[in-house]
Structure formats: C-alpha cells, structure tokens
C-alpha cells in the first residue's frame, strides 16, 4: 500500500469508529456494566432477601456441589438433544425448500416465519392444552382407538424436548436454507457425471458445502437452549430442574441467593464461551484451508 491508500484506510477506520459508537455505548451500558455487576455479586455473601457486602467464595464452592452440576449437565443434555433433533428434521426441510421453485419457496419460508408472530408464552400454553391429560392429542388418539387411556405427556422430559424442538426449529432451518440455497446444484450433477452415485455425491459435495449452515444453525439453537427456563418451567417437571430454572429460583424464591445465581450464570457463560471458541477455531481452520492458506 502506498501513502495515499494508507491515509484513506486510516480515514475509513476513524469513520467506522464514529459509526459504531452508538452501538458500543448501548452495549456498554446495558450489557457490559450489568455483567460486571453480576461478576461482583458472585463474590458476595448471600442473605435471605438481598446480599451482604462481604467477599466470599462460597457461591463458587456451591456450584461445584453435585445438585447444581446435575442441572448443568441436564441443560447441556437438553441443548444437545434439541440441536440434534432440530438438525435431523431441519436439514431435509431446508434442503427441500432450497430446491423448490421460487413461488413455493417463498410460501414455505413464510410458513416457517409465521409462528414468530405469536408470543412465545402463548405458543407454549397452546402446547400445554394440546398435550394435557384431557387435551387434543389424547382425545384424538383415543377417538381413533390407538390408545385406551390418556398418555401422561405433560410434565415429562419428552414434553420439554418436543416443545424445545418446536420453538427452536426455525433457527435451524433458516441459516441452513440460506446456505443450501446458494449451493450450485450442477455440482451434484458434475459429481454424478464423474462416477459418484446419489449418496456419494451428497456426502462428498452437498454436505461439506452446507457445513457453514449446520454450524450456524447449531449455534443458534444450542446456546439459547442451554439457558432454557420458560419451556421446562411450563411443560416440564420438578425432578429435572435445568440450570436456567435453578438460576431463576435463586433470584426470586426466598430465601434468595443472588451470589449463587450470579456464579451459576458466569459458569454457564464461561462454558458457552469455551465451546464457541473451540468451534470457531475448528471452523476457521477449515475456512483457511479452503482458501489454501494451509495447504
């Protein structure tokens, strides 16, 4: 780069600072500072209503105790299951939409977005009505004669997964669709022309080319699913308490324990961050390799 170009680049940098300033300010006031408060609280001593301003490490010691570890594990298990099922269902759907004609494509995409128009709590409550002991599902199954007495689905782990998949499926389908839609499908024909049957062509060409969508969709589902609170609370049971529920209880139920809630949140954040860093590293290595930086 010569002098002039360097100056232009510097100017662009200065300008971009001005442009990002409002966003930075927003993030600082409403995201960074609250998080710092959480960090500080996690080192304080709990009290029945509020906190005592006395430093302590008891919260972190509590986190490692088995009850909370189980909730953490349950949360990871739920997030993992939700992601896997969303991927298994979402991939074929996204693939089908991506290969449909332009008109059908738009209709299907709108159908996927429509649920967002209804409030999440209302949608969860309709699931409760649908799944309940005397609900639509049991009613219908009994009427057809498939079952003789109602199934206990509400308040089971199955109900939680069912509703989780329902809520998070669009977050899997949309990024997958946007990647699959860009794949040049003549590449598949090229693969078959060169001797690959349908299955081989899929695994050697389509799948690797859709990796980016799988990655994005999985992150979009996995991370919010980890902190799930509303769904387990409304359709789950008290035997499987997820970490999101524990955190909420510790904040609002008396005796309160805000330092513990803070510590649990931070541990969760730390684990998610670790996971993301690992995934992005793997992703970036793949991408660099694609660019030929690593031969």
């Amino acid at each position: 780069m010569n002098d002039l170009e360097l100056k232009a680049a510097a100017r662009r940098n200065r300008n971009s600072w001005i442009l990002t300033a409002p966003a930075l300010l927003w993030l600082t006031v409403f995201f960074l500072i609250p998080y710092l408060i959480v960090v500080v609280y996690s080192f304080l001593t709990p009290d029945i209503y509020e906190v005592k301003f006395r430093l302590s490490l008891t919260s972190y010691l509590d986190v490692v105790s088995s009850a909370y570890l189980r909730s953490l594990f349950l949360a990871f298990k739920l997030a993992f299951q939700t992601t896997a099922i969303c991927l298994l269902i979402g991939y074929p759907v996204a693939y089908f939409i991506a290969r449909s004609s332009e008109k059908i494509k738009n209709t299907l995409l709108i159908l996927i977005i429509i649920p967002f128009w209804t409030n999440l709590i209302i949608r969860i409550f309709s699931w409760r009505i649908f799944l309940s002991y005397n609900g639509v599902l049991n009613d219908t199954l009994m009427r057809i004669g498939l079952i003789s007495s109602p199934l206990e689905i509400m308040r089971t782990d199955l109900a939680v997964i069912l509703v989780m998949v329902y809520v998070y499926l669009p977050y899997m389908i949309l990024p997958l669709y946007s990647v699959l839609e860009k794949i040049d499908f003549t590449l598949l024909q090229a693969a078959m022309d060169l001797g690959a049957n349908e299955a081989k062509a899929y695994f050697k060409v389509t799948l690797p080319l859709s990796a980016e969508g799988i990655f994005a969709g999985s992150i979009l589902v996995f991370i919010p699913a980890l902190g799930a609170y509303l769904i387990p609370q409304l359709v789950g049971n008290q035997q499987s308490l997820y970490i999101g529920q524990i955190i909420t209880y510790k904040i609002k139920n008396i005796p309160r324990n805000w330092p513990l809630a803070s510590a649990l949140s931070l541990v969760l954040l730390f684990l998610v961050a670790l996971l993301l860093v690992l995934m992005f590293t793997a992703y970036k290595r793949r991408k660099d390799k694609l660019k030929g930086l690593v031969a």
Binding site: T186, Q189, M192, D193, L194, G195, A196, N197, L209, G292
Partner: protein, 396 residues
C-alpha cells in the same frame, strides 16, 4: 469400436419438444460439433448423452451397448460443464482426483495419474490452489483434466469457451484440438459460435428448433448448405430468390425480380435438376463476389450485376460493401490486395459492377419465407437488417 449411434431421439418438456427425432452416427475418436442458435436443444441433447435427461423416444448406443436408460454415474461419458462446475471446497488436486477416489483407487495410483493429467493441461504447478484462486482459463483446464482422468469413451463439452475472452478462446480452441489428438477419444462439442465449430470439428451437425438441419464436414456445410438455415447460420451469405427460366446441360438460368418490373438474369451451376418455373433460393457468399468501378470483360460463365454502394465497413482483414441492386442489398467482402483495387478507393453512392463465377453460387431447393432469415422482401443480410436481428437475438 465405440461409435455413438443416436436413433429417433426426442425429448419433450411438457408439450414443448426440445429435441426432435435426431438420427446420427458419431465415429469413435471423432471431434463432432453440434452448432445452432441458443435454445435449439443442444444442451438437452448433450444431457441425454450424459445421462441427466431420459429421452421420451429413441435410443442412444455406444458401440453395441444401449445406454439410453443408464444413470450418469455408470456411463463412460464425462462432461465439461459450461461453468466448469469445479468443487469449490476441494483443491485442484482433489478435484482432479475425485473420480479416482470415488472408485477407491489406491493413493499412489491417484497421485501419479492426477499429476500426469495436470501436466497434460499444463496445470501441474497449481495443484494446491483452490478453484476461487484460478482464472477462467485455468478452471477450464482443471475441468478438462478431471473429466479425462477416468479415460471415458466420450467427452462432452457444452459451450466450454463461452465464458472466456476472445484471445483465450482462440488459444484454448487450439489446445482442445491438441488434447483431442493426444487422448484420441470422441469429443462432442456444443456451441452457438460457427467459427468455433468450423475450426475445431471433423464434422458438424447444424441444429435448429430441436432438429438436425444438416450434418457433414465444415467445408461441406459451408460450400454446400442444404437449406436456407444452414446457408445463413454458417458464415455470411446473400440469399437471392428467383424462378428457373431455362435449364441447360450444366447450368440453369434464374430470373430474379429486383423491382416492380425489373429482373436480373443470373446463371448458376446446379447439383440437382429443377424444372423451369420452379422457385429457388440462390446462396452467394460475399467473398466470392468481385467489385469494380469499371465493367470487366464479358465472359460466358460470369454473372454481372450493376449496383450502387450503400455502405462501406472497413474490417481490417477485408472491407465489407453493401451494394444496392434494385431492392436487393448485396453484401460483398473485398480483400485489400492492390491487384483487386481500382486506382482510387470506392466511395459511398458510387455505381459499381459486381461479378462472380457461375459455379460460385449454390442453389437451395427452398423459398425464402417470412420466417426464414432472408425475409420475403428479398432483403439481403446485413448486420443491421431485420433478418440478422432475428437470428442474432437467439445468440448469446
């Protein structure tokens, strides 16, 4: 040997017939071209050969094997796609190795074959690059290497040079011919560019609206077109309609109306014997016509026509004149050789003589109609005329 035989091949898309009743034999090792305007069904025909479309009727044979229903991955036929279709997530090496890996060849064989193939297309030093990092011409070479590595019986090329610039196109054309000579397999080449087809092919099939209009060696099609379409589509020509007035032993006299009650008497040798009164079209290539300010010496087998220069276009290798003769506009190519030139260069609006040998014309047993390129008013093709636009629209 593995000659290719197409029998009564047709393909419909809904009620639209994209390929109609194609019968052809392509010899093993031949470089065969399908030439026709865009939309005439070339790609569809090629896709049936590759196995991406199943014909509605007809049969495709390679050697004695009927491959009509065989899936693409089981045919000994590989394709160079128009956009190359290199796998973007694989290096050049892996792209070329793909067909061998699919067939689970040992790694050592793969490596040596890939490097050999890459050296054939002069890309051995680029093997670690990714498709994104290659130029159009380089991608083309990789696609060729990838398609040839399995030693197919037939290589299909669908407008392989369309995306390249002129110089590169000419260069790749020669390279393709060299590769064809080296590997010795059948190449089937599809293009809408008559120059490409003429220069590269052993034989050409001219297509229009799903049908094969004419097939044969390039010079045959150029010199002896069987229809107005092939005369017009291959090269440039003047099409003059007329009525046979007299039939002699070795030539006929043709009466051509050029104005309300003005006629031209033209002689032409013939390759079939029409009856007097028959309406015909005469194809007269622009480069076969001589142009001069002064009237040349009268000779028996030379046709003379008097006209006025309407347009002059200097094209470097030659000059194109449009000469108005009655309502005809005759296109003439004149090379810049001193001996053919008058002392002073010809000018706009100048009266000139056009003359050509009887045997330099070609009679087509067809009457130019509204739908044929020359048009009903006998207007002669010029780059600006309606007729050319009609065809030109269909070219890419």
């Amino acid at each position: 040997m593995s000659d290719i035989r197409l029998e009564n091949l047709s393909k419909d898309f809904g009620s639209f017939r994209a390929v109609e009743n194609v019968n052809l034999e392509i010899k093993s090792g031949e470089l065969f071209s399908f030439l026709g305007p865009s939309g005439c069904g070339k790609t569809t025909l090629l896709r049936m050969l590759a196995g991406f479309e199943i014909p509605n009727t007809g049969k495709i044979q390679i050697g004695n094997k009927d491959i009509t229903q065989l899936p693409a991955y089981r045919r000994q036929v590989n394709t160079i796609f128009q956009n190359y279709s290199l796998f973007p997530h694989m290096s050049v090496f892996d792209n070329v190795a793909f067909p061998l890996k699919i067939r689970k060849q040992p790694a050592s064989t793969i490596k040596s074959s890939v490097l050999e193939m890459l050296s054939l297309v002069k890309m051995e030093d680029q093997h670690a690059k990714y498709p994104d990092q290659l130029s159009g011409g380089q991608k083309q070479r990789v696609a060729i290497a990838r398609a040839l590595i399995n030693k197919p019986e037939v290589l299909l090329l669908d407008e392989p040079l369309a995306a390249l610039d002129l110089k590169l196109r000419q260069h790749m054309l020669i390279e393709l011919m060299n590769i064809h000579d080296l590997v010795g397999i059948t190449f089937i080449y599809v293009t809408h560019d008559q120059g490409e087809a003429m220069s590269i092919s052993d034989r050409v099939a001219v297509m229009n609206q799903g049908k094969i209009i004419q097939s044969g060696p390039p010079d045959d099609i150029y010199e002896r077109p069987s229809s107005i379409f092939s005369a017009y589509f291959i090269g440039e020509t003047n099409l003059i309609s007329g009525t046979v007035s007299q039939v002699h032993d070795d030539y006929i006299e043709l009466k051509c109306q050029i104005d309300k009650d003005e006629f031209l008497e033209l002689d032409s040798t013939m390759h079939f014997t029409p009856l007097p009164g028959k309406e015909l079209t005469m194809s007269l290539r622009p480069e076969k016509i001589a142009i001069s300010r002064s009237k040349p010496r009268t000779q028996d087998d030379i046709n003379f026509v008097r006209g006025t220069i309407e347009d002059i276009l200097y094209l470097g290798t030659h000059t194109q004149y449009i000469v108005r003769v009655g309502k005809l506009r005759i296109r003439v190519f004149s090379q810049h050789k001193r001996v053919y030139f008058d002392e002073k260069a010809l000018d706009w609006e100048e009266p000139v003589w056009l003359f050509w040998h009887d045997s330099d014309t070609w009679l087509i047993d067809e009457v130019a109609s509204d739908t044929s390129p020359s048009g009903s008013d006998l207007e002669i093709a010029s780059p600006y005329s309606r007729a050319v636009k009609k065809l030109g629209n269909q070219r890419i």
